[in-house]
């Protein structure tokens, strides 16, 4: 690898990393604001204008609390738990395409950490690893309640991963590619997957709620049944990492949803905008500005889904554990399989028929 390429990749990855962290940080603020607004309150508004410094204050508080490890806990695993949760949450954002390319000095820079031809598979692999963070943390606490919470989280995540993967197969049958960049560029010009896969989208969305351990599937945390959940014994920044990992996961899954179903950085009429900008500002500046608009659109979509997560959280009551399992295994998985069959039949019979009609 050449040095310039190496430096460019390093910078892109750093930017992606920092952006993910900042968005996750401000999601905590957004969550509290949204909660407040939905409940006719103001939300945090004392720290800084509109409460914007609240995440910093929370982080400061977390860092200065006593870093406590229970006497009978497995010390290294107790530390490894939150670290793994953070690590796996952050890894997934590397393959998300945030925009097309930026031209600088004759070099085309792709706004994506790593362009991988198995991008979506990588995301699934990393998300599946996220269970380890929770499981190890819950087990290392040497507390039965923590362990129960962790087991709940693990079984929930594994159950919903199945339906999630199956709903994704329908998308892959249409795109015939695992690369996220490829899937996005196929949705160019308002040709979004949501119009072809509404059922798949609903299944994927439901499963991503369960994967992020968000309401209505937030059973790993339960004060009435489990004291706290898998992080009962955690305090200080280790607890902070667990909570923070949840918000990072939320951003990553919002980004994945907008990439897979809502065309990523594509928006209707982007060709017209691109032509106008390149005509008036030249092929370099115009191209860069068009890319930045696309990136803005992408972040708009992702932020909308983050808002959607919060909106659902403050609307729906949670499921009971047996209802959760019933929904996952008896409803979502059969639905996803039906979706695959319908998609397969459409790709095989309907698509040639419609294309022959159009030609």
């Amino acid at each position: 690898m050449e040095l310039t390429e190496f430096i460019i990749k390093t910078i892109t990855i750093l930017v992606v990393f920092v952006l993910t962290l900042v968005i996750a940080m401000y999601s905590t603020w957004g969550e509290r604001k949204v909660a407040g607004f939905i409940q006719d309150r103001m939300g945090p508004n004392r720290a800084g204008p509109g409460g914007l410094l609240q995440p910093l204050a929370d982080a400061g508080k977390m860092f200065f609390k006593e870093d406590f490890i229970p006497a009978l806990a497995s010390k290294w695993l107790f530390i490894a738990g939150p670290s793994l949760a953070m690590l796996t949450a952050l890894l997934a954002s590397a393959v998300i395409p945030f925009g097309s390319t930026i031209r600088y000095d004759g070099v085309e820079v792709v706004l994506q950490g790593v362009e991988s031809n198995i991008g979506i598979l990588y995301v699934f692999g990393v998300v599946a690893l996220g269970v380890y963070g929770i499981m190890i943390g819950g087990w290392a606490s040497n507390n039965k309640f923590s362990l129960l919470g962790a087991i709940r989280a693990a079984s929930q995540n594994i159950s919903y991963e199945v339906a999630m993967g199956l709903s994704l197969i329908a998308i892959l049958m249409m795109s015939s590619s695992l690369s996220l960049g490829e899937i996005v560029s196929q949705q160019h010009g308002g040709n979004w997957n949501i119009f072809y896969q509404p059922l798949g989208f609903i299944i994927f969305l439901t499963c991503s709620f369960a994967e992020c351990n968000r309401v209505p599937f937030d059973l790993p945390e339960c004060e009435t049944e489990l004291v706290g959940g898998y992080h009962t014994e955690y305090g200080s920044m280790k607890l902070g990492f667990y909570l923070f990992a949840e918000y990072i996961n939320m951003f990553v899954s919002s980004a994945i949803i907008s990439t897979l179903y809502f065309g990523g950085y594509n928006y209707p009429g982007m060709d017209w905008v691109y032509n106008q900008l390149t005509a008036s500002l030249g092929s370099t500046t115009g191209h860069n500005i068009a890319t930045l608009i696309g990136t803005g659109v992408f972040f708009g979509k992702a932020l909308f889904f983050i808002f959607f997560y919060m909106w659902v959280r403050w609307t729906l009551p949670r499921f009971r554990y047996d209802q959760l399992m019933n929904l996952g295994w008896k409803k979502l998985i059969p639905l996803a399989i039906i979706n695959i069959i319908i998609t397969g039949a459409s790709v095989l019979f309907l698509k040639p028929f419609i294309t022959s009609l159009l030609n």
Binding site: G36, F37, I38, D40, R41, M42, I202, W311, T315, L316
Partner: protein, 183 residues
């Protein structure tokens, strides 16, 4: 359950529509230190030792307020008025020291009721400010006696009067009511 109910998604959509409606609603919060709520004409806030129309202290240090006080928050030392102090004190006896312990006071208003000279009142418009030092707890005459440049008046004295005043204000009559004469 019907199929619509079992599908669960329409119910979710209605629920989310309701929460979204609340999202854009006007918030009920009163942002306290910046915005203060009117607590009514009979709210019992901080104490004040009234002066009469000529600026003489009304208190004669009879001690009835201290006797009436259920929390024993009030203490005073009486003194006799000297020659030449007629402009300062209304009667021959006055309170040289008058202290209210604000940690003991329960703001019941019994001192107000007990006072035969209409000297002590609990203001309806001011609180005791938050104190963080023990020296700030006991309020002496320097804090309690009324400032003649900034006199304390109460426009309505009972809930009925306040309601009447509100009605008059709402109708555009009588923006300012002359306070009840003190005997």
């Amino acid at each position: 359950m019907t199929l619509m109910e079992r599908a669960y998604l329409p119910a979710i959509a209605t629920g989310m529509a309701i929460t979204l409606k609340h999202f854009f609603k006007k918030k009920v919060t009163i942002e306290y230190p910046e915005v203060k709520r009117y607590l009514g004409p009979v709210f019992r806030g901080r104490h004040i030792l009234k002066r009469d129309a000529e600026g003489r202290e009304r208190c004669t240090a009879c001690g009835l307020c201290a006797v009436a006080c259920p929390a024993e928050a009030i203490s005073m030392i009486a003194a006799e008025r000297e020659k030449g102090e007629e402009t300062l004190y209304r009667e021959e006896k006055y309170a040289a020291v008058y202290e209210v312990n604000m940690l003991r006071c329960i703001f019941c208003g019994l001192c107000e009721e007990a006072c035969p000279k209409q000297a002590v009142y609990l203001r309806h418009d001011e609180f005791i400010p938050v104190f963080n030092d023990r020296n700030q707890v006991i309020w002496g005459k320097d804090l309690l006696v009324e400032d003649m440049n900034n006199r304390y008046t109460r426009e309505a004295w009972t809930k009925e009067e306040a309601r009447l005043l509100d009605m008059k204000r709402a109708n555009g009559e009588a923006t300012n009511v002359v306070p009840r004469a003190i005997p």
